[in-house]
Symmetry: D2
Subunit: 353 residues, 4 copies
């Protein structure tokens, strides 16, 4: 599994997007990893530094087209392709190289139910057999199956942030599953590097708005996992908002307490659940977590507050959408899959200010 | 009431803050107004242009200390002093000049219940008799009493944005009053120009967080007005968040529909209520309002969406916190008090990008 | 020239860009203007409010394709089309309607020398005869010819900002023309609303860089005007930088004093030149102008400082690139062309913060 | 020199500022360092995580007052106190513990000439004897004396960025020293975390301006080093501008070529000088460096362009003001002083976007 220099060989498909760049940034300092293949169709032939100047000083192979990539020696392939294109690519890849470990950062393998996938993504699943073996890569929850997986479906950024806050509470029966309301705020890097008018600086800065109200795809993913935790179908209100910033997600979750629970019970439940986790932290009472405190890091911080409305509570959760919400968690999953220490390459503190 | 040049004479107490500057910006182009006095204790003796260079080209009196201001001829005094200092100042002012019309932008006269004021603001009311005559200046709701008022308590920025969205729905019985959840997002200018570490650029940009969770003072104001509309006590969940931007408020309101109401009923209720209003608009179905579209203007735009949670809806409302949320609405109230056309001086379109 | 309602009829070609929207914002409150035609090819058939929600409440004709626009009754046509497409459009327009007054916001008619145009813009001039009559619309300098013009070439944003600062000094012989160095900083709205990766929020915010170093097209325009003022060819160093903001240009000009001139002479020269101008102002000694003080306004503010290098000075000039640098100055030119008071519709103060 | 666990013991005086936090962020992952003392007068008694939540998960001693700090065992003390307070503190420190290695991030020991210090900083030097032994810590230039120093004066952020670009060119005689013009742009974190109105988000975002025009203290430092390189007194024009961003400095340097030099000579000179340096890079011809590409990293990137003005060139240099411009270079100096590999703890890539 390791190379002559004792490092794991890594291929990154779709390296010209922000999640691709973030994988490179983090893997460049990962002591057990070596990037051996980078693909990007439109920029094929260029060094990555031409596309991402901040990575110009990392020793890397040039970008190639995906069909030209030599993946024969790679131990792990990260797939950062757009939604909808990934099922076929990974299908072909695993047919050609069945031993390949694959971590997919797209949404293509996140929904276990094929009908649900078709409903939310507008086309039938193109690799239904593979879906059956894909493991949902919320590391703190699925660590054991991830360790044995060949194909990991890395969770979405909104969903990671929300699920880390709510899954233990639902599982413990500490909150009602009837009317969970998630008001989420995200920086614009989650929308990727594609050329869209809506993501221009002039259109994003100095203002906020909600989008996908009542119909954002991450709702399906959140509901899938909350339903597992609850042991019954759960529907949520999930409303994402675009923030005038690049990185960071804050999920403000409005929940109803189970009839015998108090706010301190929620905090205790979360603190107990995450006490040994290196990347998930529960803020002290009265402390409101900020996305600034996790910018660039793989940490998630969760705060719990009493609501003025009797019997309700507010749970706040923050991550960096490109790290714990994408590339950082993907590397965390890789570490688990390879039996490495889970924090390897992910120990960086947040960058503030 | 008018001057030799047929203009209303205006005094502004506390002109060195952002709401003071915004009053000057708008009144400078008000065809019926003339600013005759500006006070600011620490900057007394200076022209306003030394404090706010963007206003350097407006012909204005110099800043003076409040006790040196000659208010004898002023028809209307706007009071933009910090919370807690205003009750005494206005008390003295109205004792000396009982005919003076006063519009207060602080929170000092917004809560009708003296005990509630003491509870939320930490000290007893220092002008309880005046409180009795103060009119809450949400213009679209209190137009008639504002027209006859001597003392108007201009609403807060969060509260204006929220109340315009929710009051008609509560009044019409279209939504439940049991669990109204308001997730509000504001630019930092609402925090004023005072020197606070928390408001430095390095501390505000590129991140978001909630503050005052479960205990922000604007909850009291919102509950006061919703209770009037409902005819019974209403408690709300109100959670403000600081946005990395200067201007704008978005209130995302999560509400439960009355058992016989649908989302279209909410939109119809709001559209009917505001059909003739020049400053409040209901967005078309599917359109999510953005704070960018009201930046610098006195407009409020409200959108209504179905929730995935059955029986619930999401109501989104945007304003510019310094205009409709403060100085613009104050001038709107002045226009009503003086019998001027209500839109006078407030017709500017928003500035975008 | 005026309509039944005594208003000038206005057509705007290319209304879906930022300069188009800015024309609408300003003309909406212009007491003598009425917008009767708006064109935008890709958005034809939509109301402008669908493209620019902040203008949804202005009564306006729907967008049409340029060939469908009824310009028969328009008194003034503003042309906000991309560079390179405008020469033919205006050529056809003036052939069909020779009395039409046209104000072009593109660069297509700014360079008087046809060879220079071909060199900088990569193709021959497609309306060379028209170029001969086009008047360069730097209002404060060309007011008289503008008043008689049929076709006005509105100056660029960088050039307006720089030329207002330097032209009087060169004309007066107060500075050397040998090594004028202009370090310019602009917000991103100057790059327009087109979908470009380089203008995404993630690519623009939290960073600065220079672009077009040594070869930006506005250098040609600046040199053209400085050469006229000097009575001899002038070459300049002009280096634009992209700022992480939307609006505003600051030109920091490093100049060598004529051997008998001092810094105070420069300030006196500028103050004398602009003493009666409503939109150009000279800052007091020691005051450094900020783009914030002109955001959204048609003002230009110029400051003059002594340099540590003996015999040199620093001249700083700020404008809003979309107002004095584009649409505001275009309206100023319209006012001059129509014999209206020059400030009509342009009296708004800047929006701060 | 090392502790039982084989790590160097580190004390940080003034840990509650941004440079202090940045030292902690970087040292937390430094394999040979251990932070054993942190001081901050106003926050004494608190954990650093209460002041900087992004550092809450680093194992650290609590903040103490400077006089209570136990520095007996520390190998290296970093001093991040405000300018003017440091000379006495370090004087006392080195009197008590003459073997202590000290790296000062303030300006107190940067100017070798005591008269120059008094002129620029407004008071006489309070530790003139120590000044004589202080080594100016521009690592790439003073590596040898730094390796033997007891007291290193870490350079300023503007000066580091500028000097790395210009010192080799001056030393090689490739550019004239007669009229060097430096137009510098900095993020606001360079101004620190103190509560100042000028640094509020509302005052900094969405605008730019120059400050300290003709009289910024970093000019003295730049001139000191350029004079050494030139072997004669050099005066420069240095004009800093405040950018609406947190991190990053861009120095745009306008220089006159020596009569026999071309632009390629400048690039070759710099490339030769920095070919073996791990942190200083010369961009390819035509590539304009951006502060985004060094955000959070210890890198400096320099670009060279021909000017339109014959015989002149433009040299662009970027750093992160808190890393290579402050705390990163301080750690680089520490590594040199201790004989560690110079890049230890500083290998992180930049964070983008």
């Amino acid at each position: 599994m390791a190379t002559a220099n004792n490092r794991v060989k890594i291929g990154i498909l779709g390296a010209s997007g922000y999640t691709g760049a973030e994988l490179v940034r983090l893997l460049a300092r990962h002591p057990a990893a070596e990037i051996t293949a980078l693909t990007a169709d439109r920029q094929a032939g260029q060094p990555l530094g031409a596309v991402f100047p901040h990575l110009a000083h990392v020793g890397l192979p040039d970008l190639v087209r995906i069909e030209e990539a030599d993946l024969a020696d790679t131990d792990v392939v990260f797939c950062g392709l757009p939604h909808g294109t990934t099922q076929k690519v990974i299908g072909d890849l695993l047919e050609a190289r069945p031993q390949q470990k694959v971590i997919d950062l797209s949404a293509d393998f996140r929904l276990r139910d094929l009908d649900s996938f078709a409903e939310w993504y507008g086309h039938e699943h193109w690799a239904p057999a593979l879906q059956g073996e894909a493991v949902y890569g919320l590391t703190e929850v699925y660590r054991e199956p991830v360790s044995k997986a060949r194909l990991v479906a890395n969770p979405g950024c909104y969903t990671t942030t929300t699920e880390l806050a709510l899954l233990p509470l639902v599982e413990a029966g500490a909150i009602s599953t009837e009317d969970i309301i998630i008001d989420a705020k995200s920086g614009v890097s989650g929308a990727g590097r594609a050329e869209k008018q809506a993501n221009l600086h002039s259109e994003v800065s100095e203002g906020v708005h909600a989008y996908g109200v009542g119909r954002h795809r991450h709702a399906a993913e959140i509901e899938q996992e909350l339903s597992v935790a609850a042991g019954k179908p759960v529907t949520v209100c999930f409303t994402p908002h675009l923030m005038p910033m690049n990185r960071g997600i804050l999920a403000t979750c409005y929940v109803r307490l189970a009839h015998d629970a108090g706010v301190e019970d929620l905090r205790a439940c979360l603190a107990g659940r995450y006490g040994d986790e290196p990347f998930v932290h529960v803020a002290a009472a009265g402390v409101s977590p900020s996305t600034r405190q996790v910018r660039g890091s793989n940490h998630c911080v969760i705060g719990v507050f009493a609501d003025r409305l009797p019997g309700r509570a507010i749970v706040l959760s923050v991550t960096d959408n490109l790290v714990k919400g994408a590339s950082g968690q993907a590397i965390q999953n890789m570490n688990v899959m390879l039996g490495l220490a889970e924090t390897t390459g992910l120990e960086q503190e947040a960058l503030f200010p």
